[in-house]
């Protein structure tokens, strides 16, 4: 039962990671790429590591529980740090004067 949950969580995380990779490769400019990288990577890491934490509980004992708790802490810190880093990079981009991408027709109007 726990194993199933772990597999589901990890697979869900991988879906988001795949989406993030696609986004970084295919999106047209700096801001949209960061949008893909920042959001989907955070959720992907969250789900994957939650899956690892659940999988680690398999022979349930205090030791494995502690390890899972540590993974939980790591997830929490990623959840705080990753969006902040994305925000800081976008902020720097705006200050450096980078303009967001617009569709070709809109630009010609």
């Amino acid at each position: 039962m726990l194993d199933l949950l772990a597999v589901l969580l990890t697979l869900g995380g991988l879906v988001f990671f795949a989406g993030a990779t696609m986004g970084i490769l295919r999106f047209p400019d700096f801001y949209t790429r960061l949008h893909a990288a920042g959001k989907l990577d955070t959720l992907g890491a969250l789900l994957t590591m939650a899956g690892l934490a659940v999988y680690n509980l398999h022979p349930f004992s205090i030791t494995t529980l502690l390890t899972s708790l540590k993974i939980g802490f790591a997830v929490g810190f990623i959840f705080i740090a990753s969006p902040t880093a994305t925000h800081a990079i976008v902020d720097a981009g705006v200050r450096a004067g980078l303009r967001p991408w617009v569709k070709q027709e809109d630009e010609q109007k």
């Binding site: 705080i80 902040t84 800081a88 902020d91």
Partner: protein, 269 residues
């Protein structure tokens, strides 16, 4: 150049294969370290045992090298602003948000909770970055102490822990400003701590000499600590790791502060 390249490639042919257990590097002293490190030093992590005990001299002079790097940075970059040429200083009155400009160079403005000195070239970071860094910094520092103290049992030790500890203060300097960070880690204190780390290391070694053993032979501390010689070695490694961590942290902060502000200790980056 091609000839040189050919010679180098030819020389690699004589190397032992990847992961070859019979490679010369794995036959000389490595098996002894692996077999006896735990019995001799009561330290589960062989890397730490080799680094801080069997090759204590190496690590001591590595620490000295880091200290001299900080020293070189300080001497090359640090500049004291000359009193007559001092430029305008800006202060913000926190209650009214008014900015005061002070031109008289001799005028001394005392530190006050109502005034905040501003750097004209410094663009403030956003509130989100500041808040997140403030939340994360204590955890980073706690983790740094854990890495230092846990160097015997898991990967880590003085160098790594010191770097994390120094980086936490650099994070504050990046997210707030250099002045805030230098209030927490005053320049003079860092200047004292950096050599103090090396002195802690060398002092532990000298204590062993006083106790009648060789330099850095931590087994000598057993009598004073009231433990078995093996446990004393383990504790001795911990002491020198603390010295390394102190030195590395202070040096990181000195190097960052000098490089980022071109030696003026004002916000320049």
């Amino acid at each position: 150049m091609l000839c040189c390249w050919g010679m180098l490639v030819h020389a690699t042919l004589d190397f032992p294969g990847w992961g070859d257990p019979n490679a010369p590097a794995h036959l000389h002293v490595a098996p002894e370290y692996l077999e006896q490190a735990y019995e001799e030093t009561a330290t589960p992590n062989v890397v730490t045992a080799v680094l801080a005990d069997y090759r204590g001299y190496d690590t001591m002079f590595e620490t000295a090298v880091i200290f001299s790097a900080g020293l070189a940075c300080f001497f090359l970059l640090r500049v004291q602003p000359r009193k007559e040429e001092e430029e305008d200083r800006f202060f913000r009155h926190l209650a009214t948000d008014m900015v005061i400009r002070i031109r008289t160079p001799s005028m001394h403005v005392p530190d006050s909770p109502y005034l905040q000195q501003l750097d004209p070239y410094w663009t403030p970071r956003s509130l989100i970055v500041r808040a997140a860094c403030r939340v994360l910094t204590p955890f980073i520092q706690l983790f740094a102490l854990y890495v230092v103290a846990h160097g015997h049992h898991s990967p880590g030790g003085g160098f790594q822990g010191g770097v994390i500890l120094g980086a936490s203060f650099i994070l504050i300097a990046l997210s707030h400003d250099l002045r805030t960070s230098m209030k927490m880690t005053p320049e003079k204190l860092m200047g004292v701590l950096s050599p103090a780390g090396v002195l802690i290391y060398a002092g532990v070694g000298a204590l062993c000499v006083v106790a009648g053993h060789n330099f850095l032979d931590y087994g000598a501390l057993a009598e004073w600590l009231g433990t078995a010689p093996e446990a004393a070695r383990s504790l001795g490694i911990l002491f020198v790791e603390v010295g390394v961590a102190v030195c590395v942290m202070a040096t990181m902060i000195i190097i960052y502060a000098n490089l980022s502000s071109a030696g003026g200790y004002k916000q320049g980056l």
